[in-house]
């Protein structure tokens, strides 16, 4: 390669508990508003944990006709809509065949369709399933819907690494663009797991937050001494990743640059995070970026609100950044949008980019009882303005071990 290829973000689209436009998400995030509520669903009475972060997304309101979404699982509906909005935002020329790519992360794929199928057979006692069942259940259904919609002929890839799925998807798209394989891609994630059996399976790991008795929306309390777990959510976030000169030559608006990506495996336990595993992930991204540790000014933490993660992540940040850990800011926006599982990394990447755009750090809300073991600047309860802002990191860790960190740079 004659010159170093750079990767920038030129479009964003989202479906989330904080709204279905990037602007709505930013408005809520930077004013510290939570999208966490009492779960609305037929089986709510059977749940021990009745708190969730649901996306207010009725596909009939977002697509012109039923045939545009009827054969898609909710993951496909949300991801396709987010992708359509992201490409409009990027003003991508879509009037020809493109060797562009689709890179999607999803933790549990078409679980709603799987559950619906089982209900039809086992509960209703019927003996046939809808013809599209396989195509709705398969993990690559969302990526396929997007690639088909835009007639993209490049890589069509789905990553499933639990909660880091979409950070991995963005990272791998970044790599392929950097390598010169493609000039642009839709990259992000989608997950819709708010079905009865899937919530029950989360309940059984005893990792879900207890409902705050005074305020349901304050149930997720990352880094707080009284945190009790994560709040499961749903949604999709899609970014247009584009090679810098490709973006520049068509006069695209550039939101931010991706300057680092690293992934590492936390091998000690399938579900209990280790400082070494999380530190290795951040280290891999730092190495990839070539930046000195003190360049990083903000970290959008994985920050699930579980006892294990928040202590471990704090310790891992200290290990990588040393004394600088006390100068940089860390926050968990999951306190507001909940844990979007396979879509979490992409939504948090989007929020990190918005942070760079606004020179403002998103808060960790519900942080009123500091945990002595969590002693960094977590931007408690209110956003903070920041000057000379250049670099921010977004962390994603996961059951199964696959961690991913992404580093973003403000556009000059």
């Amino acid at each position: 390669m004659s010159h170093r290829r750079r990767v920038v973000i030129t479009g964003m689209g989202v479906v989330s508990p904080l709204g279905n436009t990037p602007e709505a998400v930013a408005q809520n995030i930077f004013s510290g508003k939570s999208g966490i509520q009492r779960f609305e669903g037929a089986f709510v009475d059977k749940l021990i944990c009745k708190v969730a972060a649901q996306a207010k997304f009725n596909p009939a309101d977002y697509f012109a006709k039923k045939s545009d979404y009827a054969i898609l699982d909710r993951i496909g509906q949300m991801a396709l809509y987010a992708s359509i909005e992201a490409t409009k935002d990027a003003n991508l020329p879509l009037n020809q065949q493109h060797s562009a790519g689709v890179y999607i992360g999803t933790g549990m794929g078409g679980i709603l369709s799987i559950e619906e199928g089982y209900e039809t057979l086992f509960k209703k006692g019927e003996n046939r399933l809808k013809p599209y069942t396989v195509l709705m259940c398969m993990y690559n259904s969302a990526a396929s819907a997007i690639a088909t919609h835009f007639e993209f002929s490049g890589p069509n890839l789905t990553f499933s690494t639990a909660c880091s799925s979409s950070a991995i998807a963005i990272g791998q798209a970044y790599k392929d663009i950097k390598l010169g394989d493609i000039d642009y891609a839709l990259a992000g994630g989608t997950d819709a797991i708010l079905a009865y059996a899937s919530i029950k399976s989360w309940e059984s790991i005893r990792t879900l937050a207890e409902e705050d008795p005074d305020d349901v929306s304050a149930s997720c309390k990352p880094f707080s001494a009284d945190r009790s777990g994560l709040v499961i959510g749903e949604g999709a976030a899609m970014l247009v990743l584009e090679e810098f000169e490709h973006a520049q030559s068509r006069g695209a608006h550039i939101y931010a640059e991706i300057v680092g990506y690293g992934t590492a495996n936390d091998f000690r336990h399938v579900a209990i995070p280790s400082v070494e595993g999380q530190a290795a992930t951040m280290q891999a991204a730092m190495k990839n970026s070539g930046l000195a540790p003190d360049a990083i000014q903000y970290i959008n933490a994985h920050g699930t609100g579980t006892k294990f993660n928040d202590e471990t992540e704090t310790e891992a940040i200290k290990q990588i950044f040393g004394k600088h850990a006390y100068q940089l800011a860390v926050s968990s926006t999951k306190s507001m949008h909940g844990h979007l599982m396979g879509a979490a990394g992409a939504l948090e990447a989007m929020i990190t980019v918005q942070s760079l755009l606004r020179n403002e750090l998103p808060p960790t809300i519900n942080l009123n009882n500091p945990d002595p073991k969590c002693d960094l600047n977590y931007v408690p309860n209110q956003s903070q303005k920041i000057e000379n802002y250049q670099y921010a990191m977004s962390n994603s860790f996961a059951f199964g071990g696959t961690g991913a960190s992404l580093i973003f740079k403000q556009v000059d």
């Binding site: 006709k65 019927e126 013809p131």
Partner: protein, 85 residues
């Protein structure tokens, strides 16, 4: 034995309704002699039509139904599957 006898007219009506509502097909000039291949429904779309018919009448079409060429073939097969129940 079923007390309700389903007639071919009823099946035709149901099929027409399906094509209109599920497949957005203009039924104003629809004729049961129309070739399935001319309906602008892909093979998966046709699977959905068959699924809805099976569901409606609690019957099962054979795995391979390539011998069905016209809408009338679908009506006739549906009728005989109901009669065989």
């Amino acid at each position: 034995m079923d007390t309700v006898i389903t007639t071919k007219d009823e099946i035709t009506k149901f099929l027409t309704h399906l094509l209109k509502t599920e497949k957005q097909i203009d039924i104003s000039n629809l004729d049961m002699s129309n070739q399935l291949a001319d309906l602008n429904i892909d093979s998966f779309g046709f699977l959905e039509v068959i699924f809805s018919i099976e569901h409606q009448y609690n019957i099962s079409f054979p795995k391979n139904y390539e011998h069905l060429k016209t809408l009338q073939d679908v009506v006739d097969t549906t009728y005989s599957l109901i009669s065989e129940k």
